[in-house]
Symmetry: C2
C-alpha cells in the first residue's frame, strides 16, 4: 500500500509540528512544505523535505493526498481553507468558535464543487474537547458541564498585554483552580464566576522608561481580559522572558457531572484532560490523524466539509478496523 502523501501549507510553529508529526505515523509521508517566504531562506527540521513557494502549489495537485493548513484562523485560514479546498483535500485548525458555522459553510461549498474532503476546526479545542463535550452531554443529559484551560499560554491574553503602553514583551498563563475542579468531582454541580475557575499569571518585560505600577494597574483592571480574574503580574527582563517562557505548554479539562436513578440519587463524573508540553506540537499530531481520515473519506467518496464530530474514531488510526476491534475495543 502506498503511504498517504501530505503537504504542509505555512511553516510556523504549527507547520514545524506537523512536519515532525508525519514522521511518527507509519503510513504517511511528507511530500513538500509550502511557504509565502523565500524557500531558500528556510531550513526544515528534518533533512530532505523539499520547500516551495506557495505560488507553485498547484503543480502538486496530483501528488499530494491531503494538504494540512497551518496558518492562523483570522489571518490565513479564513480565506485559505475555501481556496485550497477547491484543489486539495484539506485539514485546518480553525479555532474562532463563533465563526465556525460560517467557515464550515464556505469550505463546504468549495469542497463539494470539486469533490474534495475538508476537515475544519481539528485540534484539541475545538477538537478533542468538542468530542468529549458531546459524548458527556449526550450520555448524561441531566448534569453540568465545565471546561477548564491550562496551565498554559493564552495567545490572546499575551497579545492584550503587549498592546499596553510601556510593555516590551509579555506572556500570560491561564491557570485552572484545583479547588473548582475538586468541587465538580464531588458532584456538587457548582455555578462558578470566572474568578472561581481560573487565575491569570502575567510575565511582563517593560520598556526602559515604563512605570511598573501604572502598567500593573492597567493590566489588572482591563475589562473582560483580566478584571474578572485574580491576576498576578511579574516583571522580568526580556532575557528571562526568552529563556524561561519560550515553551508553549497548554492543556485543560472537560468535566461533566450528571445524575441517574429514579430519584437522581446516583452521580457520575466524566472527565477528560490534556497536559501538553507543546501546544503546537500536540495540535499538529491531532491534525496528522485527521489528515488520515480526510484521505479515507475522500477515497470512499464522502466529500465536502466535515468536523471532528462527524468522523468515526476508527478513521484516525493507522490500524485496520478488524485490528481495532480485536486489539483496542
Amino acid at each position: 500500500m502506498n503511504n498517504i502523501q501530505i503537504g504542509i501549507l505555512g511553516y510556523g510553529n504549527l507547520g514545524r509540528g506537523v512536519e515532525l508529526a508525519i514522521s511518527q505515523q507509519p503510513d504517511m509521508e511528507l511530500t513538500a512544505i509550502f511557504t509565502r517566504r523565500n524557500p531558500a531562506e528556510i531550513q526544515p527540521s528534518l533533512s530532505g523535505v523539499p520547500i516551495y513557494n506557495v505560488k507553485d502549489v498547484l503543480n502538486f495537485k496530483n501528488s499530494i493526498d491531503v494538504m494540512i493548513l497551518c496558518g492562523g484562523s483570522s489571518t490565513d485560514l479564513d480565506s485559505q481553507s475555501p481556496a485550497f479546498a477547491s484543489h486539495f483535500n484539506i485539514v485546518d485548525s480553525f479555532d474562532t468558535h463563533p465563526e465556525i458555522p460560517r467557515h464550515f459553510k464556505s469550505v463546504n461549498t468549495s469542497a463539494l464543487l470539486t469533490n474534495h474532503t475538508a476537515i475544519v476546526s481539528a485540534g484539541w479545542d475545538p477538537g478533542l474537547f468538542s468530542i468529549n463535550r458531546l459524548l458527556a452531554e449526550s450520555i448524561l443529559p441531566l448534569g453540568h458541564s465545565y471546561t477548564f484551560w491550562g496551565k498554559g499560554v493564552s495567545q490572546g491574553h499575551s497579545d492584550a498585554l503587549r498592546r499596553i503602553e510601556g510593555v516590551a514583551n509579555a506572556i500570560q498563563y491561564t491557570i485552572p483552580l484545583e479547588s473548582a475542579m475538586e468541587a465538580v468531582r464531588r458532584g456538587d454541580g457548582p455555578a462558578f464566576t470566572p474568578r472561581q475557575m481560573h487565575t491569570r499569571e502575567c510575565y511582563v518585560a517593560l520598556l526602559p522608561d515604563a512605570d511598573p505600577d501604572t502598567v500593573r494597574d492597567q493590566i489588572v483592571h482591563m475589562p473582560s481580559y483580566f478584571a474578572d480574574y485574580d491576576t498576578t503580574v511579574h516583571f522580568v527582563s526580556q532575557e528571562e522572558l526568552q529563556e524561561n517562557h519560550y515553551a508553549m505548554p497548554h492543556g485543560g479539562f472537560i468535566q461533566r457531572s450528571g445524575t441517574t436513578g429514579s430519584d437522581q440519587e446516583n452521580c457520575h463524573i466524566y472527565e477528560f484532560s490534556l497536559k501538553l508540553d507543546s501546544n503546537p506540537q500536540f495540535t499538529a499530531n491531532v491534525l496528522a490523524c485527521y489528515a488520515r481520515s480526510a484521505y479515507r473519506l475522500a477515497a470512499e467518496g464522502s466529500y465536502g466539509a466535515k468536523t471532528v464530530l462527524e468522523i468515526p474514531p476508527a478513521y484516525l488510526s493507522s490500524r485496520s478496523i478488524e485490528q481495532l476491534r480485536a486489539e483496542i475495543l
Copy 2:
C-alpha cells in the same frame, strides 16, 4: 418528528437502568419491556410501561425502532444478539473482550441478511474507554498506554470469592493505586507489575463453621485473581454486606503519555476518567445514546454490525449536526 421507539430485552439491573435512561432522552420513548419471567410478577420502575413475555416479541417488529439487549455476555448476548438482529435494529453491551471479533461476525451476518443495524459492545469498557484508547494511541504514536479500573466492584472477582468453601457471600473492590497514576502523569512511562497498579479489597460473609484464617489464606494465594495483588480481606456479617455493599460503583482511568519534538523532548499526557455511583445505570445511559445512533444509521441504510469505533460522535446526540457545530464544537 416522531420519537425513537425503544424496546428493552431483559429486566435486571441493566434493563432497569435503560428504562430510566430513556426517560432522560428528549427524543426517545420506551415502547415495551420483554422478559423471560412472568410479566405479571414484574413491577416496572416507571408507571405505565407495558411488560411482555419474550415469546411475544415478534409482534413488535414494526413498532420498535431499536431493541436494547440487557442480558449478560456469555449467558445471553452470545445467542440473543445474532437472533434478534434478524428482526430488529439492536444495541448490546457484549464485553468479553477476546470474543468480540467472533461475536461481531455472527451479529453482522444476521443483520446484513435482513437489513438491520446492530451496535455491539457498547458501554464504557468496551465503549468509551475503547474510543479513548484509540484516539490517544493514534494521536501519540510514541508513548505508553495504561488502563486503571475502579474503585469498583469486580463481578468476576466477587464470584471467585463466592466459590471458596465456607464463604456465604462476598464483594470484591478493585482499587487503582494513586501513586501509579501519578507516575504516568509525570510522563515517566513506567512499566508496572499488576501489584503496582491495583489493590484488591474483599468483604466476605462466612458460613457459620468456616475458619477465617483458612478462607483468607485461600483468597490471598488464589492464582491470577489475587496472588499477584496486595489483597485485604474484611470479614463482615451478611447483613452488613447487604446494607453497605449493595451499590455498584465503578469507574476507571485511561492514560497515555507520549512524546513529540525533534529529540522527543516534549511530553504530553492524555487522560480520560469515569467515576460512577452506579455501573449499570451509567452503562444504560451509554446504550441509550447508541440506540439513537443505531436508529440513524438504519435510517440512512447503513446496515450490519458496528462498534463504537465506527460511529461518528454526532450520531449520539439528540441535537442536529448544525446545532452541534454552532454550540458544542
